[in-house]
């Protein structure tokens, strides 16, 4: 039966670590158990699975568990499932699940993202990296120029902000400083030591203008969100958070053929899909696999103008935990670990339910934006507590 609305009704997360030895399917189960306990649902209630990017047999560290692994391991009786990389960024898996429950294809969908990149790097015999050899598809346009890491692609966008709009490293630093400060209040965060502006400015440059502290760190973890149909809320005990709108928009699937990353058209698209406005938003949880990406989301979502992101975050007051627009209250990926997109939606739910503990933002937050992706990939969710 079709349903008018979709809600996040349960959240869960495994431990977040590096070089974990727990099997990645069991890490996924840890997060699922927590989400089921949170929601009051049982596995028998689950009739849908959605994940990003699906199992990647050639690069298991990046995605060691697929939807089909989970369905088979648990003998789940699902009516609908989805897992794939060809959607616009990580939270696309959640937006797609919302569409599925609205269409009546499922009532309760487990959405998950499991990462095992640190473990894989430590144990390449068990979790091999992609075979070295000739590159193809999109990689052929960057790798031959030793632009193999995404940081070198993002850095070129950041450099344009430096040269064209006058963004300074001191301004950009506020993303990482805010992340790291917030992470100290998150018991599950990967990095829980303070970072000063001085340490940031003196740190090693990776690809100018970006330095070591602008980058997230490989992690091993699983994050789960349960998405439920609006007419199934009677079956859950947790405070439901409505997926008020979603957007994913990619205009060219190239890192180097557009002036603006997909965070800009996706940010604009989000507001076309809702009556809410940026001024209604109480907190933003924005993808920061590289710090500059969060700044592009602030601009793309219209919290400031194009090119004004550096000024907007200058000094860090505005985006602090007690500021007017608290950013990445769990520490983002830079502080909490590279959960790869799903952490931003997880934290939005925590904050909107008032369950942030030491890191809970003040007031009575009702609306949050969770955004994931960089370059040609972008997806955003507008989340609301009714």
């Amino acid at each position: 039966m079709a349903s008018k609305e979709a809600y996040i009704t349960g959240i869960g997360q495994s431990q977040v670590g590096q070089k974990l030895t727990r099997h990645p399917l069991l890490l996924t189960m840890d997060a699922i158990r927590e989400a089921l306990d949170d929601s009051g649902l049982s596995l028998a209630d689950i009739d849908g699975i959605s994940t990003y990017p699906g199992k990647m047999s050639g690069y298991l560290g990046f995605s060691p568990v697929g939807a089909e692994d989970l369905i088979d391991a648990l003998h789940l009786k699902v009516r609908w499932y989805n897992g794939g990389m060809e959607t616009s960024a990580q939270l696309g898996a959640v937006a797609t699940a919302a569409a599925a429950v609205k269409a009546g294809l499922a009532r309760h969908v487990i959405c998950f993202r499991t990462v095992y990149e640190a473990a894989a790097m430590a144990r390449p015999q068990d979790y091999p990296m992609p075979r070295p050899g000739r590159v193809e598809s999109g990689s052929q346009w960057t790798a031959p120029f030793n632009a193999t890491s995404a940081v070198t692609w993002v850095a070129q966008y950041a450099m344009r902000h430096v040269k064209k709009y006058g963004m300074t490293r001191e301004q950009l630093a506020q993303i990482s400083l805010t992340d790291r400060k917030n992470a100290m209040l998150n018991p599950r965060a990967l990095v829980r030591e303070p970072l000063t502006l001085e340490q940031y400015m003196e740190s090693r440059l990776i690809a100018e203008p970006m330095c070591l502290f602008d980058c997230d760190r490989f992690s091993d973890a699983s994050t789960v969100l349960i998405v439920s149909a609006g007419d199934a809320l009677g079956e859950v005990k947790a405070t439901p958070i409505r997926i008020a709108a979603s957007a994913y928009r990619s205009e060219r699937h190239s890192w180097d053929q557009t002036e603006f990353m997909a965070s800009y058209p996706t940010g604009a698209e989000l507001w076309k899909n809702t009556d809410y406005k940026p001024k209604d938003v109480d907190t933003v949880q924005l993808y920061d696999g590289f710090a500059f990406l969060a700044l592009t989301w602030l601009e793309g979502l219209g919290f400031c103008g194009v090119g004004e992101g550096g000024k907007f975050i200058e000094g860090g007051r505005r985006i602090a935990l007690d500021g007017e627009l608290p950013l990445n209250t769990f520490g983002g990926q830079i502080g909490a670990g590279r959960l790869h997109g799903f952490g931003f939606a997880h934290e939005s739910v925590v904050q909107l339910r008032g369950q942030g503990g030491e890191r809970q933002i003040k007031g009575d937050p009702k609306v949050a934006v969770a955004a994931s992706g960089g370059g040609p990939l972008a997806s955003a969710l507008l989340l609301a507590r009714d």
Binding site: R134, V135, W141, P144, N146, S149, T152, D256
Partner: protein, 134 residues
Amino acid sequence: MSSPRPLPRLDPDNRFFWTSGEDGKLRFLQCQDCKTFLHPPRPICFQCLSENVAPSVVPGTGVVDTFTINHQKWNPAMEVPFVIARVAIDGAPGVFLTTNIIDCAVNEVEIGDKVEVSFLQQDDVWLPLFRKVG
């Protein structure tokens, strides 16, 4: 840079591009009907949906659209620092190439610099690198 580079796997779509430097000329795929340039190469024109597409020679010059100075050694043999740039290709409106700017100090590159192609052959591939002109 003399360090080994990951090379593209040649296929029917990209072979003309990666071997174009054999005669010292840079080529991009162009719609022969409406003259739109298509990059990365696809067998159809996004503008007019014509399938009459073929490689065309471009002047081999361009303008630095943006860049970064890479300091990180991504493999032990890599020599750093070096410049990774996005070059807007003269004569092919809307087409950019990620490439390296060579033969100058890394701090001499700026957005807006005029550059010209300089091919580096490795195996059966001619990599279009760029150097500053003027």
